[in-house]
Structure formats: C-alpha cells, structure tokens
C-alpha cells in the first residue's frame, strides 16, 4: 500500500433509536493508501455508509481518530470542516444530487464558487471537467434533460473539478441500468488509474465492487475481510 491518505483508529459510532443506543461502527481500524480504489461492501445496517460519511467529514464519530491527508478531521469545527470538504472531498451520490435549476456546466462549477477563481476560469474548468466525462455537448442541458448515466457523469465532473484528495461515492451505480452503471464504473476506474484519484465507493453490487482495487467487507460495524479485487 502507498502511504495512507486515510488513517482510521478505534472509530466508533452509535445512533439513538427509540430510546435505545444502536452501535453502528465499533472500534474500527482502517488505512487507505493514496491512489487506492476501495469498495466498501456489506449488508444493510453494516455501517458502510456511516463510515463513508465520517471519512468525508459529513458525520462525526463518537470515539476514535481519523486522519485524512494528515489532518485530524474529527477535531475540526463545522465551518473548518466545510472548508476542508470543499478542498479535499469530491462527492458522488446515488441519486446524483444535482441542482435541478442549474445547467450541467453550472452544476459542475458550483464547488468552484468557494474558491477565489474568477468567472471565466470557473467556466473553463467546468467545460474541461465535462469534456473529461464525455459530456462536452451537454453543457447547457438541465439535469431533467439528461439520462441517469449522464447525470451521474455530471456529478463525477463536479466531484473532480476541485482536484480533491479523495473521491467518495455512495452507491454511484445504484440508480442506473447495467449499461450506464458500466460506463460510470469505467469512468471511475479511469480516474483512479490515469488521474491517480483515491476513491472510496460504497456499493451493494458485487460487479461494481470487482472494478475496485480492493474490497472491504463490513458486518455489524466491524471489518470482516479486506481483499484485493480480482
């Protein structure tokens, strides 16, 4: 493994449901190297999405440490965490989470509004990112005018536009048909192999997991196995 970009030690998280405390993650240790493409798998309630959210800085653990690219993010306050996410994390969601009132280019440009870049630079980068995902001809299209696969490609362009340290993908193919899912996975593999992006992907889909470099199986909040994908 390359130098770890994500170092997790003793991570624990529980939720309160109906007056009961339900443990989701228990004393979890995990290292993810720079340039890795990890698939997090496991049954529903195994804690994979919670782990992904904590790594991405959108949820907080109850205990444990989490260093991403050398930053102990658990200790960051909300505003610092927001800035940190803007710089270091690219998100790909199951349902794309695009702004329906913005065009593809505007959606991709959105994270750049938090940078000092001017309007022209932002637009040029958005066009480049959309070209990289094969949507150069769909810049002015609204999400409702795009297929699911195309929307997810816009979301990928949005995820990579700030050149983040880490790309986190929560069931990126979960809402797509087989062909579109294959295209999205091809794109993610390319991002990992050619652009060296570190990707953590939560999936239920064995075929999707097989495209990753390694697979981490979670069960009842603990890592059951870590295997290299075939």
């Amino acid at each position: 493994m390359n130098d770890p970009v994500v170092e997790i030690r003793g991570l624990a998280k529980s939720y309160r449901r109906g007056g009961q405390i339900v443990p989701v993650l228990e004393a979890l240790d995990l290292d993810i190297g720079a340039g890795d493409f990890i698939a997090l798998m496991g049954p529903s309630g195994s804690g994979k999405s919670t782990l992904l959210n904590i790594i991405a800085g959108i949820d907080k653990p109850d205990r444990g440490t989490l260093r991403v690219n050398g930053t102990e993010i658990v200790r960051l306050r909300e505003a610092e965490l927001a800035r940190w996410r803007a710089q270091h994390i690219g998100f790909i969601f199951q349902f794309y989470n695009l702004m329906p009132v913005l065009t593809a280019a505007e959606n991709v440009e959105l994270p750049l509004l938090l940078t000092p870049l001017g309007r022209g630079d932002r637009r040029r980068r958005a066009e480049l990112a959309l070209s990289m995902v094969g949507l150069a001809d769909r810049m002015t299209h609204y999400p409702s005018e795009l297929s699911g696969g195309q929307q997810q490609r816009v979301a990928i362009a949005r995820a990579i536009i700030t050149d983040p340290t880490l790309i986190v993908a929560d069931e990126p193919t979960g809402d797509l048909d087989r062909v579109a899912a294959g295209e999205i996975l091809d794109l993610m593999v390319r991002l990992n192999a050619e652009a060296g992006k570190t990707i953590i992907m939560v999936t239920h889909d064995q075929r999707a997991a097989e495209r990753a470099r390694s697979v981490v199986h979670l069960e009842k909040g603990m890592i059951r196995t870590e295997t290299d994908a075939p």
């Binding site: 959108i58 909300e78 803007a86 913005l102 440009e109 938090l114």
Partner: protein, 384 residues
C-alpha cells in the same frame, strides 16, 4: 451564479410563486392605498402655512364672530393681513355633489393663500362681480364648469336659492394644494343674510390672520384672544395647522383603524410568505444538504433562502408600488371631493418598500435557520 440559483429557485414552482407574488402585490397595494387615505386625511394640515392663524369663536366653530373684530385684529402687532371665511354648505343639484364652499373676503383671502393661483384677469373679473366665484381646477373639471358659467346652489345653512357666476378657476401651486373648493364674496352673502336673517348679518365664521413671523404665532394668538376676553364672542386663535388638525382629531379613531388594517394586511401576507418559504425549504432539504456537503457553510445556505424570499418580496413589492399610482388616481377620482388631495406620497412609497423588504426578511428567518441547520447525512437521505 448564486444569484442565478436564487432567482431560478424562486421561479421553480411557478404557480406557487405567482400566487405569492399576487398576494404581495395586493397587500403592498392595499397598504399604499390605505396610507394614501390617511395622508389625504391630513392633507389640510399638511398644506397649512406657518404664517397663517385662524381665529374662531372660543365656544365652537358653529358660533360666528362679529365682522367688527376684523379691524381690531388687523391692528395687532405682527399681523400683516386679515381675511374672513364662512362655511356656506350649499347643495349643487343634489346632496351627492358635495364640495366645500366658502364666502370669503375676496381680495385679502387670495393674498393670504398664494397657493391658490388665479389668473390676474380672472381675479379682476371676480372682484368686479358681486356674484362672482372662483372655483378650483379639480372642481371645475368634475362638473365641466368654465369661466362665465352660472352655478346655482341651494342654501342649507343660509336658506334659499343662490346663483353664482364662475369668474375664475384657480390652480394649485403644487400637488398638495386642494383645488376642489368654491369661493365667493362674503359681501354678497352678507347682503342677502341682512335681508333674510337680519340677526345673522355682519358675522363671519373664522378670521384668517396673516402674520409676519411664524415664531411669534403663539404670542400673536394670545394678544388677539386677549382683546376679546369677556366679550360676548370670545375668540380662540391657533395656527392654521392646529386648526386643521382639530378637524382630523374628530375622526382620529377612523384613521387609527385604517392604520391597523393596513399593518394587518402586511402581517397576513408575511404569514403566507413564511409558509411558502417553509414549504420550499422543506422540499429542498436534500439540495441544502448537498451544498453543505460540497463545502457551502450554513451562512451561505441560509443566505440562499433569504435571497429567494427577498427576490419574491421585491418583485411583489415593486409591482404593488407601481400599481398604487394608477389605482390611487382612480380611487381619488371616485372619492370626488371627499379627498380633495389624494396623492401617493414619497413617504408612502418608502413605507411600502420597507414593508416588502420586511416581509421578505421575516418570512425567511425560520426556513433559513432550518436550511442552515440541516444535517448533511439526514438531508442526503431525503433524496429519491
């Protein structure tokens, strides 16, 4: 681009936004119209001059004063001119045609009221003709009167049929000037009264007193009233503004009611708008969560809601303000001489704008806080 996002979000549910804007237009328009009604109520006091005093009978306005007081008042130090005015209360054709009619001491009266602009030739013709009348432009336009027309009035306070000849039409010096009045010679009135009701002859309703220094108004008023203390007709002298406000105070309750209603209208639209924004905010939880995940802080997310609310409020407010002018013009016309001066003031427009902004801001407070506080993980689960 955030502005684009705000505007497009505002127009996302077109029907809902249009209905909210229509509500705002109606509310801002109603607020402006009611504010203009209140302004019209105070128009007489607003148009009052600081160099004019009004002397009336201390008992009540309905009791006259002897004409002999005129010379005594004129001799008071600081008084520059004295004129007289009697409320006539005549009926033109039918009771519905109400307009104020005053029998005045012609020459001095118009000298004391330079805001009533009369052509020199018309003034000369008026002064030459005992039955002559000077009428306001608005009044002349209402009844189609022209110079030379004969106007019959049926007396109520001064019974009998009276005829006048329009000798001039006065214009207002500015928009605040009341041009719905009818003036004729006190001498003509007094002549007929002397024949018909000799005991009521040689009396006037009020004296209009011109003074040289507004700062001495209180002192001159006291001096005038002092002269007639312990007489059969004691006087009460006050500034013209105080005199006019005395009329307004009789109807103060109506003015207060109008003001309350106007603010209630704004409060209601505020609640409607807050509901619209709350619905929008709830529907967009996932989008706000996405923005927060991408690194947008709670302040920026809250600002998007505020921006959207303000955009809707400003559009509604602007249309409402723009609509106030033609609607007020028609309303003022329909009210005839009830509101002789019915203009939308700058103050009313500013208040309308302030109300629209307040509605936009207040309506967005709760939804903006909700959007700013949306948990990212929870918000993202709201998708699909």
């Amino acid at each position: 681009m955030l502005l684009r996002l705000v505007i497009r979000n505002a127009l996302r549910h077109k029907l809902r936004t249009v209905l909210t804007i229509v509500g705002l237009v109606v509310a801002v328009l109603a607020f402006g119209l009611l504010g203009t009604v209140v302004d019209a109520w105070y128009a007489g006091a607003e148009g009052a001059s600081s160099t004019r005093l009004v002397t009336r009978n201390a008992v009540s306005l309905s009791f006259p004063l002897p004409i002999t007081y005129r010379e005594k008042i004129r001799r008071v130090d600081g008084v520059t001119a004295v004129s007289t005015a009697n409320w006539f209360g005549g009926v033109y054709v039918s009771e519905r045609n109400f307009f104020p009619q005053f029998a005045v001491a012609g020459e001095t009266y118009f000298r004391l009221y330079p805001e009533y602009v009369v052509r020199e030739d018309d003034m000369k013709a008026f002064l030459r003709d005992r039955k002559g009348a000077i009428v306001g432009r608005k009044l002349a336009d209402t009844y189609g009167w022209k110079v030379g027309d004969i106007v019959p009035l049926r007396g109520t306070i001064y019974a009998g049929n009276w005829t006048f000849v329009v000798r001039g039409i006065y214009d207002g010096k500015d928009r605040k000037t009341d041009t719905s009045q009818f003036f004729f010679h006190w001498e003509y009135l007094n002549e007929r009264v002397r024949q018909l009701f000799p005991r009521r002859a040689d009396t006037v309703g009020v004296y209009v007193v011109g003074i040289d220094d507004p700062d001495r108004a209180a002192e001159i008023s006291r001096t005038i009233d002092e002269q007639f203390r312990n007489s059969l007709a004691e006087t009460l002298t006050e500034t013209e503004k105080a005199f006019q406000l005395g009329f307004v105070s009789m109807t103060e309750a109506i003015v207060v009611a109008i003001r309350i209603v106007s603010y209630l209208v704004i409060f209601i639209i505020m609640a409607v708008m807050a509901n619209t924004m709350a619905m929008s905010s709830r529907e967009r939880s996932a989008e706000y969560a996405t923005l927060k995940a991408l690194g947008f802080g709670p302040g920026r997310v809250g600002a998007l809601v505020f921006g959207e609310s303000l955009a809707i409020a400003l559009i509604g407010g602007a249309i409402g303000i723009a609509a106030t002018f033609p609607v007020a013009a028609r309303f003022g016309k329909a009210m005839g001489s009830l509101f002789p001066v019915f203009n939308v003031s700058e103050g009313t427009v500013l208040l309308q704008a302030a109300c629209a902004v307040t509605v936009g801001v207040v309506a967005a407070i709760a939804p903006a806080i909700r959007a700013a506080r949306v948990g990212i993980a929870e918000g993202l689960r709201a998708v699909g």
